[in-house]
């Protein structure tokens, strides 16, 4: 699967070669970077721009300026994102889009605004009250506002059909991702998560059409594999929805005796549970889809169906033995959710282990010991 290793090199490359190539081949075309999780990529795509998800800088950039701006107790992705900006790495982008996911990310939005006054920096308010009949209309308005800004930045007019087309394109892309996840849940030995991860992650910077093609090939290849099934436990990973764990850590988890049968890695790439309807007002359709169709996560609040129910369902659905909380250091939403998650898992008799990581960490001895112990405690009688 050489192609995916290449993908890794490309997303690991902080000069964003894929983005530069895309722009070079389309004079005047714009690229918009967005902070992870729930971003309306359809709108950016419909405006003829390249949506790119910023997933921090991993361990490939020393924080030299950003920690003077964001002090102690702030997660790494916030700092490395700003660091990339302050060190010119974000030069290929024409705008940044942030949303309500957490307080640090929100403040980052406005710190970026101050430090890059020439740049289009916007903040999307995603409703936290889906039970209100007014929420959908509000969000549709909010999407419309953003679309107008994008039209201004791109100097273009975006008609509803363009948006509908983009919705269709992304619906297809996400349905493939959902299918890949289904296959892995059934045959984790066929699709090592380290590999799947890189494949999905590629979608954070590749043009969606190109990524969709990759997913199709991969799906074919994976299906035809016949890898030996190891004596491993089946786990669900929860908590890595924003800042991403280093790839070696993901591989280490499998290496230490776990099959990852479901996860919330780069969840922003696959955040609708079913297709977004293409008929009617496309913005309203996207809005209602966020409210009724998007996957749960610690940064989305819907008091009609608690997230912990979502997690327990996920474990049952994927026939997992246990849950591994893989939480980014200083990620407060994930810290908070751990408590009710833990309570509900224990009520349901599902074993779990909580681990903390930082995107920039590169030695994992302690984590390895904890994961192995966890596995040993489940396999040794």
């Amino acid at each position: 699967m050489g192609s995916f290793e290449r993908t890794f090199d490309r997303y690991a490359d902080l000069r964003f070669p894929a983005v530069r190539e895309w722009k070079q081949s389309r004079p005047g075309a714009k690229a918009i970077a967005y902070f992870p999780v729930y971003a309306p990529v359809e709108l950016i795509h419909a405006a003829g721009m390249l949506p790119v998800s910023l997933y921090g800088a991993g361990d490939r950039l020393d924080i030299q300026h950003a920690d003077a701006r964001f002090g102690s107790f702030i997660c790494s992705i916030v700092k490395t994102t700003l660091e990339m900006g302050l060190t010119g790495h974000l030069e290929p982008f024409d705008g940044f889009l942030f949303s309500t996911i957490c307080d640090s990310a929100r403040n980052l939005c406005f710190v970026m605004k101050r430090n890059f006054p020439a740049m289009y920096v916007d903040f999307l308010h995603l409703p936290h009250n889906p039970s209100s009949p007014a929420a959908a209309q509000f969000l549709a308005e909010e999407y419309r506002r953003i679309l107008l800004e994008l039209e201004r930045v791109g100097g273009c007019q975006v008609h509803d059909d363009r948006v509908r087309h983009s919705i269709t394109v992304y619906n297809h892309n996400r349905s493939l991702i959902r299918e890949l996840y289904r296959v892995r849940t059934r045959h984790p030995e066929k699709i090592p998560t380290g590999e799947l991860y890189q494949l999905i992650r590629a979608g954070s910077f590749l043009p969606v059409e190109e990524h969709t093609a990759q997913l199709e090939t991969a799906l074919a290849q994976f299906g035809s594999r016949s890898n030996k099934k190891r004596d491993s436990i089946r786990i669900v990973i929860e908590g890595s929805f924003c800042e991403q764990p280093p790839l070696p850590l993901i591989q280490l988890i499998e290496d230490a005796g776990c099959y990852i049968v479901d996860d919330d890695f780069v969840i922003g790439q696959s955040w609708f549970e079913s297709d977004v309807p293409t008929e009617g007002d496309p913005l309203l359709s996207l809005a209602t889809s966020y409210l009724d169709r998007s996957v749960y996560s610690s940064v989305r609040h819907d008091f009609r169906k608690p997230r912990w129910d979502g997690l327990v369902e996920k474990v049952r659905r994927s026939k997992a033995d246990a849950v591994l909380f893989l939480i980014a250091k200083f990620c407060e939403p994930a810290y908070f959710d751990y408590v009710p998650y833990k309570q509900e898992l224990e009520r349901a008799g599902i074993p779990h282990l909580q681990l903390e990581f930082e995107e920039k960490s590169f030695t994992f001895d302690r984590l390895r010991t904890e994961i192995e112990t966890f596995v040993e405690s489940l396999i040794f009688d």
């Binding site: 020393d62 924080i63 030299q64 003077a68 102690s72 960490s361 030695t363």
Partner: protein
Amino acid sequence: MRIAAGVDVGSTQTKAVIMSDNGGVKVLARALVDTGANVQRAAERAFDTGCQQAGIHSGDVGFVVGTGYGRYKIAFGNTQMTEITCHAKGASFLCPGTRTVIDMGGQDSKAISVGANGEVLDFVMNDKCAAGTGRFLANSAEVMGISLDEVGPLSLKAQHPVKIATVCTVFVESDILSYLAQGKTGEDILGGVHIAIAKRTLSLARRLNIEPEIAMTGGVARNVGMVRALEEVLGRKMLVSPDAQFIGAVGAALFALEKLDQSFESGIWRGDHAVSGGH
């Protein structure tokens, strides 16, 4: 004869400097003792040694300013000032033209923007945990079984400096151990350690407007490797006084001299004794 003294009680070492001003300010003596367990006694020892060296009687000293973390423990001090204020003053005396001070002590590191008259314009410090301080170096030396003085020179010989993951002074030990286990050379490991601290220190200093001249003070200034590492990340040379570790005490002594002609009431002299109801 107008004589004053400054005593800087640091976490590891206590320094005393005796200065006189008869038409020209000059350092009569400098003394250095280990702080050890009894801060008060350390201050006295340093002060007395200083007086002996200067060949004067402690009674000849007109005013004593105490600084450093142990400053409130100096029984014979007339007033106290923070080491930040004193470092700025001392640096611009020993290294004229100083605009930025980078101080690396045993347990904290700080950066100070200094005005033309040695006044503090702005400062930042790292004092909540010992990450990236002189102690970090001392521990590394300890783990590798070499003396602290060898650390700097060795680090200069690094070919491929290793990457140091942790900044925790205690955890760096296990990092070093595993590198040794991987067969990395002491030079490369120390090189990595020095770069790690230098970068951390610089990112602290960046909170200020770093302006030349940059002076390095504190015990770590004696470490050639650290000076080099810092100059590399800074991209420019620094002023390093041979008396770097005495700068706090010198600053204190200079204030003590000024104090000889000033009244207790003028603002800057509001040491804790001077203020009613302070501590």
